[in-house]
């Protein structure tokens, strides 16, 4: 399960993608992924907010994560 990182998320983690599971823990939902990230990288809790996209669509906390999903961390967008 590959996790893509953009913007400040990339700076916090120090890489543009990471492989899950992290430390042997495999998140089963968006909510679990967010908890895992904040535990591993406390700077995520300092952001205004951050969203998760699954297969390039915004995904709510209860969306389940599958092995083949493309998952991305979407920090606050600021285009335009």
């Amino acid at each position: 399960m590959e996790l893509l990182l953009f913007g400040i998320a990339k700076d916090i983690v120090g890489r543009s993608s990471i492989d899950l599971p992290s430390k042997g823990v495999q998140p089963r939902s968006v909510a679990e992924l967010k908890e895992l990230l904040i535990a591993d990288y406390p700077d995520f809790s300092k952001l205004s907010s951050f969203a998760v996209a699954v297969n390039s669509e915004y995904a709510g906390d209860d969306v389940t994560l599958g092995q083949d999903d493309e998952i991305a961390i979407i920090p606050p967008v600021s285009g335009g």
Binding site: F6, G7, I8, S48, P76, G79, G80
Partner: protein, 139 residues
């Protein structure tokens, strides 16, 4: 609505957008161009750096344009956004809409740029003389 033009580009030339939006049934064309401003909160901006999650950005642009076309009778739409490093006065985004009357193209253009700024996964870093800041990242 005809198939919209949705693009993420390295170089943005806005001079030809009018031609792309021209349409025999369109009496009105509204174009918004976002450009790099010299100052943010009185601090001089050296450059802006844009990064995107391209596949998702194009999907979100399409959703936004579809929503606009459901709200207003539009004929043609162009949305182009840059990635990479941009200097003061460089254009960074262009949104153009053509429609029979201006009652449609003005609000549709405004809706698309407003929604793009809220939902499309593009991130902007402001480069100042002594620091760099991801815009809106922190409260």
């Amino acid at each position: 609505m005809e198939e919209p033009i949705l693009e993420i580009v390295e170089e943005l030339d806005v001079s030809g957008v009018y031609k792309e939006l021209s349409h025999p049934a369109s009496g009105g064309i509204c174009v918004f161009i976002g450009a790099v401003r010299e100052f943010t909160n009185n601090e001089e901006v050296v450059a802006l750096e844009f990064e995107t999650y391209k596949a998702m950005a194009l999907k979100e642009m399409r959703k936004t344009v579809t929503q606009a076309s459901e709200k207003w009778p539009v004929n043609k739409v162009v949305v182009r956004h840059v990635v990479g490093t941009k200097k003061v006065e460089d254009p960074v985004v262009v949104v153009g809409v053509s429609s029979a009357h201006r009652d449609a193209c003005f609000p549709a253009c405004r809706y698309i740029i407003d929604t793009l700024k809220q939902t499309v996964p593009i991130w902007k870093k402001e480069i100042f003389r002594n620091k760099e800041v991801w815009v809106s990242a922190h409260p």
